[in-house]
Amino acid sequence: MKITLTVNGEEFPLDVEPRRVLADVLREDCRLTGTHLGCEHGVCGACGVLVDGEAVRSCLILAVQCDGSSVRTVEGLAGPDGEPSALQRAFSAEHALQCGFCTPGFLMVATGALEADPTLGDDPDRIEDLVRSNLCRCTGYEPIRRAITRAAQEARQLAP
């Protein structure tokens, strides 16, 4: 089936079988391997991307469902000159990654939430809910919570 995905601003005209999930198409057809696959059951969150601004599990959505949509992956977070996003800088500052396998998923779920609502940092329960969305086997979660909180506080200061 012929579909068009806009991934990180770039248009990809693709011909994909309906059975293929978005994660596989991003990794194999668009060659964007920053989106990781862990469980492929919706549990771990490593495959998190934004579809039309919303954080989803790309292992549980078919690529054909996303025809005409705009997708953002971890590769799209950095600025044009390669400068990491505020959230990426916060992850680095707070040591919120060790092996890094889970990191793209956490970055995308938190980016989606922060962009949808810059006041996120006011509500520790909502940050908690985001941190609980994904699995990390290295960090013990606390540094991830700190990093998201730090970025949220920065976003709050910048918000009008």
């Binding site: 089936m1 079988e17 309906p18 059975r19 293929r20 999930v21 596989d24 492929e40 059951h41 919706g42 549990v43 969150g45 998190g48 919303e54 954080a55 989803v56 599990r57 292992c59 549980l60 959505i61 078919l62 054909v64 469902q65 779920v109 939430a113 809910d129 985001l130 609980r132 969305s133 699995l135």
Partner: protein, 310 residues
């Protein structure tokens, strides 16, 4: 595993979807949020020939209140219920208490309430609430539209009275009045698990006396249940003062109702980490706690009503 090959259509109207589902002899499957279906297709427990994606049917995402009835369209996502104000009155509060237990934000952004009803998992929060509140399941099929009471719709684990070729267009709930208090309590092993046991309760009281109790049981049988015997034991009981502490006295009416729910209403199935004795105990405790929460909600709503009338 990757899903096996299938054909895919994305109709724009309910009529087109029903037509597609009825295309002779092929196994067709509705795709709503896909948060259960795509997983089942990966596990090859479901292997459709045709997937009918309803996400591009604009009419289905409506959440509407009319004449005291809430109508939830087939594309209303779990997330829509996270705010207690999305739905008026105590019903909105009940949905908001329940929804936080369903998976996590990215799953709630895609998965739908109606999809959960269609899927009919015994541990689904929405299914038990639908049964407890006498919701109506509205379906469109090759022979036209029909309605079925939630109590008759669920027939076993992942089994419903829905026929192949039928599309659920909405689920309808009667709104709850302000004399009703609600509670929802869930027990599970980890945040990523489905409920081991959960309960929903709606207690209506007049003058401090319970006039109607509704209790829905999650994962307490092979299907969602309404705890009729426990409900009957509560009518006419005083809603009583708030209780301190976590453990209820043995002879408290809510503790008794919990035991009745466990012994007479529930028909639990043993699971790894939860044999029948454990499950029975957990059901009694969870139901009693849910009733305490509903009673406390009822008292604060009653106080707010008194305040208004003064």
């Amino acid at each position: 595993m990757k899903p096996a090959a299938f054909d895919y259509v994305a109709p724009r109207t309910v009529a087109e979807a029903v037509d597609a589902l009825g295309t002779g002899g092929r196994r067709a499957q509705v795709l709503a949020g896909g948060q259960s279906l795509i997983l089942e297709m990966r596990l090859e427990r479901i292997r459709p020939d045709l997937v009918v994606d309803i996400n591009r049917i604009p009419a289905l995402d409506e959440l509407r209140v009319r004449d005291g009835t809430l109508r939830v369209g087939a594309l209303v996502r779990h997330r829509a219920f996270e705010s207690a104000h999305a739905v008026p009155g105590p019903l909105g509060a009940l949905f908001a208490r329940a929804v936080g237990n369903i998976a996590h934000p990215p799953i709630r952004a895609r998965g739908t309430m109606v999809g959960s009803v269609a899927w009919a998992h015994p541990a689904s929060e929405w299914c038990a609430i639908a049964v407890a509140l006498d919701a109506d399941v509205e379906m469109a099929g090759p022979r036209g539209a029909r309605n079925l009471a939630a109590g008759d719709f669920f027939q076993g684990p992942l089994k419903t009275a829905g026929q192949p070729g039928e599309l659920i267009t909405s689920v309808r709930y009667p709104l709850l009045g302000d004399d009703t208090g609600v509670g929802f309590v869930e027990h599970r092993r980890t945040h990523f698990c489905f409920a081991q046991v959960a309960a929903a309760a709606a207690l209506t009281a007049r003058g401090g006396v319970i006039s109607e109790a509704r209790i829905g049981l999650v994962n307490c049988a092979d299907r969602p249940l309404r705890a009729h015997a426990a409900e009957a034991a509560l009518t006419g009981v005083e809603i009583g003062p708030p209780l301190d502490g976590y453990r209820l006295p043995e002879n408290h009416p809510f503790a008794r109702a919990g035991r009745i729910a466990a012994e007479r209403d529930a028909a639990p199935v043993a699971e790894p980490y939860a044999d029948l004795e454990y499950r029975g105990h957990a059901i009694a405790v969870v139901v009693a706690r849910t009733l305490c929460q509903a009673a406390s909600d009822q008292r604060s709503r009653a106080r707010a009503l008194e305040g208004e009338s003064r």
